[in-house]
């Protein structure tokens, strides 16, 4: 049974290839997903999803768009979506200050799905660049370090704790600049 159909040898034209995404979805996702169908060998371990890491970021959004999947009555789906929105409640708005900037901004942390998006948004908002994050050395490569005040009143470096924990404990954000920033990044 394993050897009987070898997808790699089929003359499938791209246009007629069965894909799990809608036409026009990400080429990368399309490739990743068709690997799932074509490849009868083991899917990689790593999470219950069994998908290899490179697919983790792109797989969920496209999957959610497959018409007719998952097979749940629209009545139930709509019910569930509206409940989800309700239960999430109002956004988590926090003030963001940047050293040297004349006024503060406010952002809704719920809008972002993770640190990468948040930091990108901050970079755009204040027109600066944050360096590379590493656990050992904080944000290297720039004069800025994103920090936040947590529930205990302590100033913490953004990125150390899991995202979910971060958004529930973050009271306000401050983008530190200059020597103060570098001081925070170095080991104690």
């Amino acid at each position: 049974m394993e050897g009987s159909v070898a997808y790699e040898n089929d003359l499938h034209l791209k246009a007629t290839e069965l894909r799990l995404g809608l036409p026009g979805t990400d080429e990368r996702e399309e490739h990743a997903v068709s690997n799932v169908r074509n490849n009868k060998r083991p899917l990689q371990e790593g999470g219950a999803n069994g998908k290899s890491d490179s697919q983790n970021e792109t797989a969920p959004p496209a999957k959610a768009q497959i018409v007719g999947w998952p097979p749940i009555r629209s009545y139930r789906k709509n019910n569930f979506q509206s409940k989800k929105n309700e239960s999430e409640g109002p956004g988590i708005y926090v003030k963001v200050s940047m050293d040297g900037a004349p006024y503060l901004r406010k952002i809704d942390l719920k809008v972002y799905t993770g640190y990468r998006e948040l930091l990108q948004a901050l970079e755009n908002m204040f027109k600066f660049t944050i360096g590379e994050y590493s656990e050992r050395e904080g944000y290297k490569g720039s004069d800025y370090a994103p920090t936040y005040e947590d529930k205990d009143g302590d100033w913490m470096l953004v990125g150390d704790v899991p995202w979910e924990m971060f958004i529930t404990s973050c009271k306000r954000l401050r983008i530190m600049k200059g020597s103060e920033a570098r001081g925070l990044g170095c080991g104690v």
Partner: protein, 581 residues
């Protein structure tokens, strides 16, 4: 009782009245259909005495022919859109309109008393027409329908003087904020069933209370989310005889007066056997329900994501007589273990996903195995999960050989067995092999043609099969079409089946109700061939893409094809995006 002696008795010596009396006891549609085929005289007697008719596809026959054959019709059940319409695969304007049926019935002398519709388009006009046309109309049941508003319900309430049953299940209803409940006249005291759980809007609570007070026969009451807990308490005080209850929003402070009144009134409700609702739920308020739990046979918590963990399992532990359970996957595998050890009478389980992302489903094969070990009477399953293994499916098949319905949905639709990395062919093969009475099957996971080989070989009673993302070639579909003699409905999406399979045994489709194929490999040319050779089938091509023009290239793959047998030719009400070949 009639003696049947050793001598042959010639059946046509029975007077018609005797036959009629005998037929009265034959209620199943299948049996009635068989009876009508015996001989002309039986056909005639049967058709005059038939009161209940079931039409599985509203386009397979016309209302005129129905009325001509069954002049004594009192109860009609109609189904419209194909099953995959539930999952947004069929555009809203596709069809399934009830109006022409009501119009035709109204013109005739039929004394319609009951109308049950599923997946049909029901306009306010049709509801009003219905309410004014049949003096003895008693029962309206709408399931997964759309197209009407609360204005239509107001007409039913106002005009159907002997209404017993108004049962709305999971319909898309536009709430006009009219006071439809107040439209039930004071003289209306005949209600037995009132289910408006699917309505989204506010409810006139006073009108509801007054209605319940004057309905002493009320047995089934299902409220919508807009009915708060204190109203529930007041209603139950007036209707302790209820057998089926759907709560509204079940939220209150456990120390409130309303809640303590509710607790005591629940203790008086000794007849409740079926419980649902809980659209919003305060877990601390669930203990009020414990006295009812011990007699419950049906529990539906599938709209209550707020109930999980200990509160949920505590509740279940009180439900020792449960036969049917609908639940969300926040119950988890362990929770199913609690179900397995408590609910020994369980026959039906439905586990719905509470989060639609593929990586987030909470159930795995472990929960299902635990369940099968504890509940051998299980015969109907709908199970959304993250993963499944062949070993688990084989165990389940052996533990529960009584399955009639087995629907498994792995949220990642092509996921293989995570332990062995094999397709799930062997697991499903075991299900069809051991469960000899299986009538309905839905498959997911990584599946090759082999699973269809098993299905064709073993699933002798199979009537409905749903396939998605499965199979390698036309062989798969052919195994099924050639093997499953009792197959009535086949629906396939995104699978590698094409013209060869479609066209091999075209006569088979006249023995089936319908075939749905979407995102498969069948081409326009293949469908045209089929339509040409089989005039008693209606072959519809549903084309939703931007260009409304249907391509004339026969090699073009067809996005969606729906075919069904019909005695009345092509329907006249199809929209522009449907092409009937």
């Amino acid at each position: 009782m009639l003696w049947v002696s050793r001598k042959t008795i010639k059946m046509n010596y029975f007077p018609d009245e005797v036959l009629e009396h005998m037929f009265f006891f034959i209620t199943s549609h299948k049996d009635r259909n068989s009876v009508s085929l015996v001989c002309k005289s039986w056909y005639k007697i049967e058709r005059y005495s038939r009161q209940r008719v079931f039409i599985g596809n509203c386009y397979s026959i016309s209302p005129e022919r129905l009325i001509a054959r069954f002049p004594g019709l009192k109860s009609l059940t109609l189904k419209g859109k194909p099953h995959f319409a539930d999952f947004n695969l069929v555009p809203h304007e596709w069809g399934g309109f009830v109006y022409p049926w009501i119009e035709a019935l109204a013109k005739s002398r039929i004394g319609l008393e009951e109308l049950r519709l599923k997946r049909m388009v029901v306009s306010d006009e049709s509801l009003e027409f219905l309410s004014k046309s049949f003096v003895n109309f008693k029962s309206l049941v709408l399931v997964s329908c759309e197209g009407f508003t609360t204005d239509g319900l107001a007409a039913i309430a106002a005009n159907c003087r002997f209404l017993r049953e108004l049962d709305l299940q999971e319909n898309e209803v536009d709430d006009q904020r009219g006071h439809w409940l107040s439209c039930f006249p004071e003289s209306c005291t005949s209600l037995v069933t009132l289910n408006f759980a699917c309505l989204k809007g506010e409810i006139n609570l006073g009108a509801l209370e007054r209605l319940v007070v004057r309905s002493p026969n009320l047995k089934s009451l299902r409220l919508n989310h807009a009915v708060p807990l204190d109203t529930l308490q007041k209603l139950l005080m007036q209707a302790p005889q209820l057998v089926d209850l759907g709560t509204g929003s079940y939220v209150d402070d456990p120390s409130s007066e309303a809640y303590s009144k509710l607790k005591s009134v629940f203790q008086r409700c000794k007849s409740i056997r079926s419980l649902s609702g809980f659209f919003e739920v305060a877990p601390h308020c669930m203990s009020a329900i414990y006295p009812i739990c011990r007699n419950l046979t049906f529990l539906n918590l599938s709209y209550a994501p707020g109930l999980h963990g200990n509160e949920l399992t505590k509740l279940i532990q009180h439900c020792r007589k449960l036969q049917r359970l609908w639940i969300l996957d926040c119950i988890g595998d362990k929770g199913l273990g609690v179900v397995a050890s408590t609910c020994k009478e369980l026959q039906e389980l439905r586990v719905f996903p509470s989060d639609l992302g593929p990586g987030n489903a909470a159930m795995t094969e472990e929960g299902l195995v635990l369940l099968s070990e504890g509940c051998p009477k299980l015969n109907s399953l709908l199970y959304f999960c993250q993963q499944m293994t062949n070993a688990a499916l084989i165990t389940v098949a052996k533990n529960c050989p009584n399955f009639i319905r087995f629907r498994l949905c792995i949220l990642d639709p092509v996921k293989c067995d995570p332990v062995t990395n094999q397709p799930l062919d062997e697991g499903f093969g075991a299900i069809v092999h051991f469960c000899k009475g299986l009538k309905r099957l839905s498959l997911t996971g990584l599946l090759t043609d082999q699973v269809f080989n098993y299905i064709g070989m073993y699933a002798e009673q199979l009537e409905m099969l749903s396939i998605a993302f499965a199979g390698d070639s036309d062989e798969g579909m052919l195994y099924v079409l050639n093997g499953c003699k009792k197959l009535r409905k086949l629906e396939i999406m995104k699978s590698r089946f094409g013209n060869a399979a479609l066209l091999e045994d075209m006569g088979k489709y006249e023995a089936m109700r319908s075939l749905w194929m979407s995102s498969c490999e069948v081409t326009l040319g293949g469908c045209k061939t089929l339509a040409e050779k089989m005039p008693r089938l209606s072959v519809e091509i549903i084309n939703e893409s931007e260009q409304m023009e249907f391509s004339h290239d026969d090699r073009q793959k067809v996005d969606k094809m729906y075919l069904y047998r019909t005695l009345v030719g092509h329907r006249k009400d199809s929209p522009a995006f449907v092409c009937i070949l």
